[in-house]
Amino acid sequence: MKRIALLGMPNCGKSSLFNRVTGASARIGNWPGITVDLMRARILLGAHMVEVVDLPGIYDLNGYTEDEQVVRDFLGSQPVDLLVMVINAAQAERQLRLFLQARTLGVPMVVLFNMADEARRLGISIDRDAFTEHTGITAHSISAKFGDGVPQALAQIGHLLSDTAPSTPSFDALAAADLEHALDQLAHQSIDTPVTLSARHTDRIDRAALHPLLGPALFIAAMALVFNAVFLLGAPLQEGIGGLFDWLRSAALVPLLAPLPAWASGFLIEGIYNGVSTVATFVPLIVLFFFLMALVEDSGYLSRAAFLMDAFMSRIGLDGRSFVMLVMGFGCNVPALMGTRIMRARPLRLLSMLIIPLSLCSARLQVFLFIGAAIFPAKWAPWALLSLYLFSIAAAVLTAWLFRKKFASREPFALELPPYRLPTLRHVLLRGWHEVRHFVNRASRFIIAGVALVWLLTHLPVGVDAASTASWAGQIGSWLQPLLSPIGIDAQLTLALLFGFVAKEVMIGAMAVIFGQETGALGDTLAQHMNIAQAYSFMLFTLLYTPCLSTLATLQSESRDWRFTTLAVAWPLALAWGVAWLAYTGLSALAH
């Protein structure tokens, strides 16, 4: 098998090309540093089976950040047949610097000038013949996003692969490479840039988006809009699907399983089916949410958020990039944690990783939508949700401020502000599809096992009333009551919290099992079970208390420090209890 690797600076379109060529769904975003780990896929290219490797973007082969280290480790350890160097044609005058470094590695190479569409619009043209004449390396002009030129480039790569042998790059000549002079020369020979660039629509958007007052106002308005949209569109969608699942259950599942003994059909229907289907009703909503996230991530707005927030973030020991990771964490905390690899200073990275788990991820969003819709009057529910997002950010800010001395750092950084881009429909749909697969994956790993276990705990020892104080679940609940009753959480809900540690989605499934309800009726049961003070306290506690299992594993694998991981679990737990207690006592007093 042959191996090719996509090498290039951050945000030049490697993952876009990778997805287009292999059909994979690597994450794409208009932010330098979306890919921070290797991704591989196999394709048939001409007569060869080829492994394509998508690498994190790097600025420098002598790089010093963790994501650049990933690339160096890969190049240093795995032989490649061909390096595919991807260059943003619109910024070739600087990105060719990496090409000059890569050329010293002694591995066969082909250069793809990507974003041909943007370069053309700017009036920049690249003389590929002159480039090949001076470097001896073939070059192609492509647009990974729209597909132009990609088939021709692939054909050429297949052709080149016929007479290559795998070789391991050598870093010996790298240090001595003449970059500055050679770069000027090569740029002069092969790039034609107009003297004055035409005004770009990006500049016009930035005038509003980066305005000192208008900018932050737009940010908050956009956030409120997104969450209201999710609520207004998502809640009825979720209810409709819940109805469908209930119908399926009474029309097909119950008659079908009738011959089974009562405990078995109880386990299958009230345990597995109710639990999993309740969680599954949220899938369309999550897809919708990730459509919106894809829009935000691919627009280029994240870098602007970093610009707006940097001054504030620097006062709490962080920088604009940490804020972007918090926003990314709204999707899922795990990629946001990994995204901190672009930071060089370890204390800065750790402090960012300490606050990211406080970011209200899409799994927690499901829990809050569910409880919010069940307990709060429809008018208030979206605002209750928005308030939780604000609490999430406030908790992150407070945490960073408290620990800023312990993780003090001063990292000089420069961040690209890429032009605004519109995602293609294909990309947005792919992202949604990716989330569905992600859900099925989690469902098969955690959710089924989780709800099965909850059912067992609520029904054992044999003969007890389901979820009563005599059941194991009840016993665990009463045992933890001294801790949880001050914040208004009763014994029955305790078990849901315990399972929320595995994955927050499991909480909804667990509640369905604990209350022995089908999807449609669960909301009403919940409303009888909790008042507003209890519900809000429960939501705040859920928001902050502990990161889920995947997040915890990522915290440990990224920090490689048990003491840090322990802190990242213990502190949010303490914070959660304190905040929930304040909210519960406060709201209860108000109600009297």
Partner: protein
């Protein structure tokens, strides 16, 4: 000669010196901030926030403390 951080917004200037540490200079080079290149401040962030710089077709943000380590000379105003 003046530090980049002192440059007027919208004024074109040429980079003549980089006084940052080695690693950061490498990063600046990769972003196009090199001696002899032309640079301009597009805007300054509020509350002593970062600067938005334009070098060729690349826009970057840089804090004022880092910009203070870049020496520039003003380029003659274009006709």
């Amino acid at each position: 000669m003046c530090a980049l951080s002192e440059l007027k917004t919208g004024q074109d200037a040429t980079v003549v010196g980089l006084r940052a540490d080695h690693d950061f200079v490498q990063r600046l080079h990769a972003l196009g901030v090199r001696i002899g290149r032309s640079v301009r401040i597009i805007r300054r962030g509020a509350l002593n926030g970062p600067l938005q710089l334009r070098i060729g077709t690349t826009d970057i943000m840089l804090r004022r403390t880092e910009a203070a380590l870049i020496d520039t000379t003003e380029t003659a105003v274009r006709a």
